[in-house]
Subunit: 449 residues, 2 copies
């Protein structure tokens, strides 16, 4: 089983910052994030991960989560940790491929092979307006741009052969420039000459992660992704997604083992179930209703500010009209319909996990859910979204991880030194495609679980 | 006197990496750069600085200097140091203002107020080809873009009032969004809505540094820069530049004290003058001639590969034809003419300091030059370019800095906590212009020298 700690401000619950023991100013404190990564490393988790958004809106009135540049945070975390993988979101919509390739190659060097890139295409209007556009590109065009972006970035990572960095004092040859390849890419979206200024990193390519669950998102993941973050409310839905994605990966001629499916889980923990329920209630009571309504309105593409809290939702717009996160829309719409939830109930569900599965209970109960999802082919591991930080992550590492170990489900120590190694993934060859053809693998030891 | 340590691979001398004690693979090792910053901090220097170039060329065959993303390196250095300022070059030609504003605001938070941005416009063709263009914009257009870029970036830094980050648990107000300002910028080059996702940093604005010495570059510096890196071979030239720049600053209604002029100095040190000369000869003997000729050809805009090494230069193209670094062209052309240098002599000069002043001698002799330039109005301080690293920086910190202190020219300890504080510069007010109007100054203690 693979475990990724999804780090988010002082907790994933929208109201976590209002708990008496929370330190909301930690969202600007690099020491807080270094501490979280050290906690995750103490638990021998595979990786830590930051989401990202290139805009801030009215939501900041009631919650500020990730304010700082996540790649810079991971650089600071790299030098405070030794083993744990370091994954950042970065957008193909509003970055230049040369710049992004250089950042992640740098992070891979700084961390001795622990960098990962969560590829997002950025559908938000507020982000578009910060980059000279009135609106984001429509969904399919964003994915077309992302595909070309990825071709360029992997080409740049491969533009130095592994053997090109010579540093031969006797001959005066620093780099064997015969082993550098120009890219000379001219495509629909980008023109990039290359080569990159950074020698090939320890991992060859940083780990490629993706989180889109729409059909276009799944196709993109099936072609390119080595880990997929996803959100499901039920075991059935998670199993369907898992099977569909693995099939698509195989259809593209890739090994389904080389794309790890990691659903998000919000573990609300207590020594007893009653204690866990109490924490959950305490958090939900601190939610600011107007804020939640605005968030749900955004997700569902309609204004719910005048909708009575204790009534079920009105008719929703068709999914074709959603240009943002289509899979999140689908998940919330289906959850609301399946359980005939009122707006107030939806607010609590989303405030707790933004559509991800919330599991409330003892460490044994949480481990039960993880075990079932893992053994029943719904997950290769989990994206752990602690509701409050650092305490929720400490609770998970100190109580759930040992329980998973007792059940033989999770590693007791790292057996690899790179992020690819933790996830049991091969190191891509410099001359090959990005589809997992192994080269002179530096770190191919699979994870123990 | 202000001192900035300009960090460059394993040394500024082109052949430094070939010295027996050099570790050329350190150019990829974050620990090396953290160590350099700690050495500079031990000497109580104002700041460390990385140049940057978004391309790699044939020059990599004989020297690889800055391969990694400098902003990521500074993030890692921030958490390994406590006092020293952290300045990175970043290009207005190939970045988005929102992205750059966020990176430097993040660095300012991570370092508790120690970030600085060296603004470059990027005239190189190789860089342009990595960003979808066949050539860089011409000189004046690059500066027009830079001016608009800077307006947007400073506007974004000011888009959070200092008091906007509230984190009031009782009311549930995290950010007072009434104190956030949208930018709604629509200009010739950029459209940026804002506000920035990052609360205002400890310094308000990271320190603004600039290094162009052409007329357009000087005008830009006079309007915006708080520190200027420059290159001069003679005291006369440095004095002319110093006076011209201070006059221009005053003409723009700014306090000339608020733009620090920092010429580059390459200190080649020995316990005796003979030992220093020996080190210089040893370094020059390791230069690879073809590499140097290619570098000089690029600087001067003509192909010198067939020119005899022991003959003076042929007629040079007029400066109007140079689209890259005009001031570097001017400096080399005048140096060659003034001293009637042969191509071989020029190679040694440039291999040692790329046009910056090389001072070879004992710590006392180097201190003599710094003292004269400082007291004779040629410099407010210096950009220290150690020929080999880390040793050349250790020698400077352990032997020249104490000599400067004995003469009362340099601080014995930090008296401020921010980079602006070290340089004796005010903290800009959030609502004011970037031209140095002091607001609620957090750190206005001037440096001791």
């Amino acid at each position: 089983m693979h475990l990724n700690a999804f780090l988010m401000g002082v907790g994933h619950h929208e109201a976590a910052w209002r708990l008496p023991w929370s330190r909301p100013r930690d969202v600007l404190d690099v020491g807080h994030f270094q501490n979280l990564a050290r906690i995750a490393e103490r638990g021998r988790l595979d990786s830590v991960f930051f989401a990202d958004r290139l805009a801030v809106g009215d939501a900041a009135r009631h919650n500020v989560t990730n304010a700082l540049d996540p790649v810079l945070l991971l650089s600071a975390i790299a030098t405070a940790t030794e083993h744990i993988g370091l994954i950042s979101t970065a957008s193909t919509g509003f970055s230049e491929p040369y710049t992004l390739a250089r950042q992640f190659a740098t992070l891979d060097h700084l961390s001795a092979g622990r960098a990962g890139w969560n590829i997002v295409t950025s559908g938000g209007e507020a982000e578009a307006r910060n980059f000279g556009r009135d609106a984001a590109d429509e969904h399919d065009r964003r994915y077309a741009r992302a595909a070309e972006f990825l071709d360029v970035v992997t080409g740049l990572w491969d533009s130095w052969d592994d053997a090109a960095f010579v540093a031969d004092k006797a001959s005066g040859t620093f780099a064997d420039t015969d082993l550098l390849r120009a890219l000379d890419h001219r495509g629909e979206f980008f023109g990039v000459g290359g080569p990159l200024s950074v020698p090939r990193g320890p991992q060859g390519h940083p780990l490629l992660v993706q989180a889109g669950s729409s059909p276009a998102g799944r196709e993109f993941a099936a072609r390119h992704a080595e880990a997929v973050f996803t959100a499901h409310q039920t075991l059935d839905d998670a199993q369907d997604f898992y099977q569909d994605l693995k099939n698509r990966v195989a259809e593209h001629g890739r090994d389904p083992e080389h794309t790890k499916v990691l659903p998000g889980i919000v573990p609300v923990l207590g020594a007893t179930e009653a204690e866990a329920r109490d924490l959950e209630r305490r958090l939900d009571d601190l939610l600011v209703t107007d804020h939640g309504v605005a968030q749900v309105s955004g997700m569902l593409g309609l204004d719910l500010s005048d909708h009575p809290l204790d009534r079920p939702l009105p008719a929703l717009p068709p999914i074709q009209q959603i240009n943002g996160n289509k899979s999140r829309y689908d998940l919330v719409a289906r959850m609301a319909e399946r359980e005939n939830l009122t707006l107030r109930e939806i607010l609590a569900r989303l405030g707790g996990g933004r559509g991800h599965r919330v599991v409330t209970g003892t460490p044994e109960q949480v481990a039960d859910t993880l075990e079932v999802w893992f053994t029943e082919y719904a997950a290769d591991g989990f994206n752990i979204m602690a509701p409050h930080l650092p305490r929720g992550l400490e609770d998970f590492v100190d109580h759930v991880v040992p329980e998973l170990r007792t059940r033989g489900l999770f590693r007791t120590d790292y057996s690899a030194t790179t992020l690819r190694g933790h996830y049991g993934l091969p190191r891509p060859a410099a001359c090959g495609s990005r589809l997992g053809v192994a080269g002179a693998a530096a770190d191919r030891v699979p994870a123990t679980s």
